[in-house]
C-alpha cells in the first residue's frame, strides 16, 4: 500500500500534494513536495547566510517549519510561498546572529507575477508594434540586450560576446529594460 502511494504521488502537481498533506498530515507527502525545491532552498540560503554548512542546516530547519506551517496556512502557490518562508527564515537567522536591523520580506509582494505577465505580453504578435516603439525608447544598452535576449533568443553568454557587456551587466540590463518596457506599455494602455 505504501508502495502504491509513492508511485502515484510523484506525478501530482504541487497544489494537490499540498491538499493531500493538509488532509492526511503524512510527512512523507511533505517530503516528496519539499524535495522538488529543496535544491533551490539550499542555494537561496547560501546566498543569504553566506555559509554552505549553515545553509545545509537551514534547509532542514525550513523543512521542520513547514511540517507545522503547511498544516495551518492556505497556500495557493507552494513554490512562491516556500520562497517566502525560506527568505524569512534566513533573514530571521541573520538578525539573530548579527543583530542587524533587517526588514522582513513582505508576503504577497511577488515580483515574479509581474514578470510572467510581461513575458506573455511580449510573446503576443498584436502588441509587437507598440512594443517596438517602447523598445526604441529604451536606453541604448538596455535596448540591445533586450532585443538580443527576447527577440533573438540569445543567452547571456552570447549577448556578452556580442555586446562586450559583462555577464552581470547583461543580466541587469535585461531586467531593467524589462521593467521600463512594462512601464512604457502600461502608459500606452497595454
Amino acid at each position: 500500500m505504501a508502495i502504491l502511494k509513492s508511485i502515484t504521488k510523484t506525478n501530482l502537481p504541487d497544489a494537490e500534494l499540498v491538499q493531500l498533506y493538509q488532509q492526511t498530515q503524512q510527512q512523507d507527502i511533505l517530503a516528496e513536495l519539499y524535495l522538488r525545491y529543496s535544491d533551490l532552498v539550499y542555494g537561496t540560503c547560501v546566498k543569504y547566510l553566506k555559509d554552505q554548512e549553515i545553509a545545509k542546516d537551514a534547509v532542514i530547519d525550513v523543512y521542520q517549519e513547514l511540517v507545522e506551517k503547511l498544516k495551518k496556512h492556505t497556500v495557493e502557490n507552494f513554490k512562491g510561498w516556500l520562497y517566502m518562508v525560506t527568505k524569512n527564515h534566513c533573514l530571521m537567522q541573520l538578525r539573530k546572529d548579527k543583530r542587524m536591523p533587517t526588514s522582513e520580506f513582505q508576503p504577497g509582494f511577488m515580483q515574479s507575477e509581474d514578470f510572467s505577465h510581461l513575458e506573455a505580453v511580449m510573446e503576443k504578435e498584436q502588441r509587437l508594434d507598440s512594443l517596438e516603439v517602447c523598445i526604441e525608447q529604451l536606453q541604448e544598452e538596455q535596448k540591445n540586450s533586450v532585443r538580443l535576449f527576447y527577440l533573438e533568443n540569445k543567452c547571456y553568454n552570447e549577448i556578452s560576446d556580442i555586446t562586450g557587456y559583462e555577464w552581470n551587466k547583461v543580466r541587469s540590463l535585461i531586467q531593467n529594460g524589462k521593467r521600463n518596457l512594462k512601464i512604457c506599455m502600461e502608459k500606452n494602455g497595454n
Partner: protein, 305 residues
C-alpha cells in the same frame, strides 16, 4: 501544467559550468527572469563550492527522503496492524529457514571437513594400521602446509597406489577440528574426508579399488564410505565375472548429486576402456544415495577394475 517543474541542482551546476547549449541557457535565463527563487538560488550556487554543494544536497535528500522511518510508522497506525503481524511472521519464518540451513551445513561439514582435497587411501577391510599411520602422516603434512581453496589436489601416498594422476599441487591444510574428526572416524573404517581414496586390496578376493577425488567437499555417500565401497566392490566383481578382460581398467567419473541424493550428470573424465567406462557409469548411477554438496560442486570418482 501537470507537474510543477523546477531546475534542480545538477542542472544549475551544468549551467554554471557552461555545459548547457546556448538555447538551453537561454531557457534557463528566461526562467530565472520569471522566478526570483531560481535567481536567488543561482546566486547562492555561484558563491559556493560545487563539490560541497553536491555533498550537502545528497545529505539533505537522505535526511528528508523516503528513508525517514518515523513518518512511515506514523502513517501505518491501526489500519495496517496485520501488516506488522505478517512482517513479524515472515521474519520468524526467515530465521527458521536460516537456522535449518545452518544445521544442515553443520552435518555436511562434519564429514567433509574442509574445502580442500587431500588424497588418502584407506584400507577398509584389512589392517587399518598402516593406512591410518599414513593418513596421520599426510594430515600432519597437510596441516603444516598453507591453505588454498578448492583446487583439485591429489597427493601421492608412498606405498599405496594412487589412482588418478596428480593434478595441481596446491597444498591444502586441514584445521585441527577436522583433524580430530578424521582421527576418530579413521579409527572406524573409512575416513570421511573431502577427498578420499578408498581401496580395498585383498588379493584373494580381488576387490576393486575405487578412489574418490573431489574438487571440493561435502558430497559423500549417505550411508558412509564402507557401505559404498562394499557396493562398488560387488558391482565391479560382478562385471569382471561377466567379462574378465575388464580387469586392470580404470575409469574416472565426474558427477553431481541431485536433490534426492542420486548421482546425476555423470561424465566420463577418463577411461582406459570405453565399454568398461559405461559399466562404471552404471555402477555409479545405481549406487546408494549421496549427500548433496553444499556448494553444488562436482564430485569425482575413480573406479579401478
Amino acid at each position: 501544467m501537470a507537474i510543477n517543474s523546477s531546475y534542480n541542482h545538477s542542472e544549475i551546476q551544468r549551467y554554471l559550468q557552461n555545459q548547457m547549449s546556448p538555447s538551453e541557457m537561454h531557457s534557463f535565463e528566461k526562467e530565472m527572469m520569471k522566478d526570483p527563487f531560481l535567481a536567488d538560488a543561482l546566486e547562492g550556487f555561484q558563491q559556493s563550492d560545487a563539490n560541497l554543494s553536491t555533498q550537502h544536497i545528497a545529505e539533505i535528500n537522505q535526511h528528508i527522503g523516503p528513508k525517514k522511518t518515523e513518518a512511515k510508522v506514523v502513517g501505518l497506525s491501526s489500519s495496517a496492524k496485520w501488516l506488522r503481524v505478517a512482517a513479524i511472521f515472515l521474519v520468524l519464518v526467515g530465521a527458521g529457514i536460516v537456522t535449518y540451513k545452518i544445521f544442515n551445513q553443520d552435518e555436511n561439514s562434519g564429514f567433509a571437513a574442509v574445502e580442500q582435497s587431500t588424497n588418502l587411501e584407506v584400507d577398509s577391510i584389512g589392517s587399518a594400521e598402516k593406512p591410518l599411520a599414513q593418513q596421520r602422516g599426510l594430515l600432519g603434512k597437510a596441516a603444516n602446509d598453507n591453505t588454498l581453496k578448492s583446487a583439485p589436489v591429489l597427493k601421492d601416498i608412498p606405498g599405496l597406489q594412487n589412482a588418478p594422476a596428480p593434478l595441481a599441487t596446491s597444498e591444502s591444510a586441514l584445521d585441527t577440528t577436522s583433524l580430530a574428526m578424521l582421527d576418530s572416524s579413521a579409527q572406524g573404517q573409512a575416513a570421511r574426508l573431502g577427498e578420499a581414496t578408498i581401496s580395498s586390496a585383498r588379493p584373494p578376493k580381488e576387490l576393486s579399488r575405487s578412489a574418490m577425488t573431489k574438487n571440493s567437499s561435502a558430497s559423500q555417500p549417505k550411508d558412509g564410505w564402507v557401505h559404498f565401497q562394499t557396493y562398488v566392490d560387488n558391482e565391479v566383481d560382478k562385471a569382471k565375472e561377466k567379462n574378465s578382460s575388464y580387469s586392470g581398467n580404470k575409469v574416472e567419473l565426474e558427477f553431481s548429486v541431485d536433490n534426492e541424493g542420486s548421482a546425476t550428470d555423470i561424465k566420463i573424465v577418463n577411461s582406459t576402456n570405453s565399454e568398461v567406462a559405461k559399466v562404471a557409469v552404471e555402477i555409479l548411477r545405481k549406487s546408494p544415495r549421496w549427500t548433496p554438496s553444499t556448494n553444488n560442486a562436482k564430485a569425482r570418482l575413480v573406479i579401478n577394475f
